[in-house]
Amino acid sequence: MWHHNYNTGPPTPVRPLALQSLDHSQLYQRRVLHLDQNERSEDLDLSPTTGDYEDLSENDWTSDQYSNSSANWTPSPQSKPDRLPPRNVAPSSRAASSNANAIMQNSVSLPLHASNDVVGVTGNMSLGNMFCSRCGDGFEPHEKIVNSNGELWHTQCFVCAQCFRPFPDGTFYEFEGRKYCEHDFHVLFAPCCGKCGEFVIGRVIKAMNANWHPRCFRCEDCSKELADLGFIRNQGRALCHECNAQAKAVGLGKYICHKCHGVIDDKPLRFRGEVYHPYHFNCASCKVELNSDAREVKSRPGFTSNEMNELYCLRCHDKMGIPICGACRRPIEERVVTALGKHWHVEHFVCAKCEKPFLGHRHYEKKGLAYCETHYHQLFGNLCFVCNQVIAGDVFTALNKAWCVHHFACSVCDQKMNQKTKFYECDLKPVCKKCYEKYPAELRRRLRKTHEATPKKAAV
């Protein structure tokens, strides 16, 4: 785009010199006319391109927002000349040495070239005044002469200063007074892109201590092109403004509003999986501007994912009758367990002892608390003394213990007893009459003594 190869007529300022000899040549005149037309048409083509240059050089890269970054494009006094020179300046002069310097240093863009100029054939003109710019010799009559920017060359002298070969397609690049073919100019002077490693022709982005194609210089987070947006250096990374703000907010432990991309200083509002400033939203019911207390009512049965979610202010939310979990105090949007006079998330309705959720299993209530089967019986004593299992059917309670009906037996002979069986107590264990009578007399005496003492005490 930048290096159009176009043939231009002889440069105006030097025209008198050259024209004096060529003026009379009809061929030359025709050509000049032709080239002038070419030039004019290309003028139109070029104008947008020219605009690009201006964009770059006129952007205020030092405005406050970039000042925190050392890698900003800083304007240089030399960058102004990087604009396309006025059209009436010969193309070759655009690549004048000073320009090329500026280009390299300020990394605006590469110059172009000039191009092959006029190859004229000297007639019987004042050959005596004309000398080749390279070898200094004169020209033979009828010899082809190259005229570029008012300078004249032998065709064999009009070659690349590096490789001494003619310029392909007549395109050359001039630097410090020397002309180079495109290839050698790039090899010698063009910067390499920090990303793709290719030569950068045209607009050069100089940033982060390297050169880049505009297309190659992108935000390291979101890959947005940064050439025209500007960038901010954040811990050695080039980021766009949004990504930089986000990175900064994360560093501060804050959220970035998904809508305005500003940092959320107060509590964020979560909605459909993103965080926002609460004031971007209004209550779906009363339309009041929301604060962070607002509640997201998640998709009801029949709706999928987040699509149907709505936001309500706390007041309206409470009026909607959505149950609140007795454990976590958050609304219950899925299955509700109702127990102990409260509502619960299924996973929050747990045993007061082991804190495992009941998940639909039977629970036991005691003094306003719920227990799983095991812990209810463990804590409140309805495990059978013999089998140590929860007593399923009728409970036989005696001696501070409980038994499954079929496990109630004499602790000495293991013979089953029923409610009517008369039994004695020893160490709060049941002993059938038959076994008790087998106890040694001295033990029975002691037991009797204690037994007689106990009720007397209880009566006191």
Partner: protein, 286 residues
Amino acid sequence: MNQAPVSCIPNAKMSKAKKVLDEARASGNPELDLMEKGISSFEEMPGLLNMAHITRLTLSHNKIVDIPPGLANLVNLEILTLFNNYIEELPVSLSSMPKLRILNLGMNRLNALPRGFGAFPVLEVLDLTYNNLNEESFPANFFILETLRALYLGDNDFEFIPSEIGQLKNLQILVLRDNDLIEIPKEIGDLTRLRELHIQGNRLTVLPPEIGQLDLIGNKSVLKMDYNPWVAPIADQLQVGISHVIDYIRSETYRYLFSRHVSVRGPPPPKYIDKTNKLSRIRRNI
């Protein structure tokens, strides 16, 4: 299987136990009742040790002296009752019984427990009432019986209880009635699930303040502590009621009294239960 092996044991004696065994084999009943059969040896119960399917074996009120190590072959046994026999020693193999949950060795003549006795994998209730055990009788690993929920040591000769008692985390019932206890270790306060504590009929004068950590005065709890030579403040509270004793033990006043009492401890009170007539001693006295 149906024909009992030839034995030199008198037939009449044999038949009683053998009849029960035959019936049990015929019916497949896994619970075996052999109490009061006059059995003095396992040899009188031919084939019993091969009945690996039985879950309960009750041999109360017999005259058994020796327990054969082969008893441990009954791998499905959950309840073993040997109450009121003449057992003086237990086989080491007993503690390897994989399913034994309730072991009743009350009213025997045990002077010690075999080494490794704490190895029972699932023992829940251990009744050693009315034997001749004391603090020396416990093997080293006894208190690793973490599954134990009831331990009956009434009518024995303990003067001290090893402090390792605190390791029995699941203990709900501890009976130390009618021993010679001089003190209770403070580790009893670690038995957080203890709901029944019998320490009546000992030589206790004070209780460790740590006992106040336990819930022993709830309506599901029992604390029996009569017949001890308690220090006057405890004795006074006991007159009013157990809950007053616990309240007092939990007070700072008592904490102070206890520390002073421990530092200037006098000689232990005399034994005042005459045990010479204990059935468990009879053999020795004869």
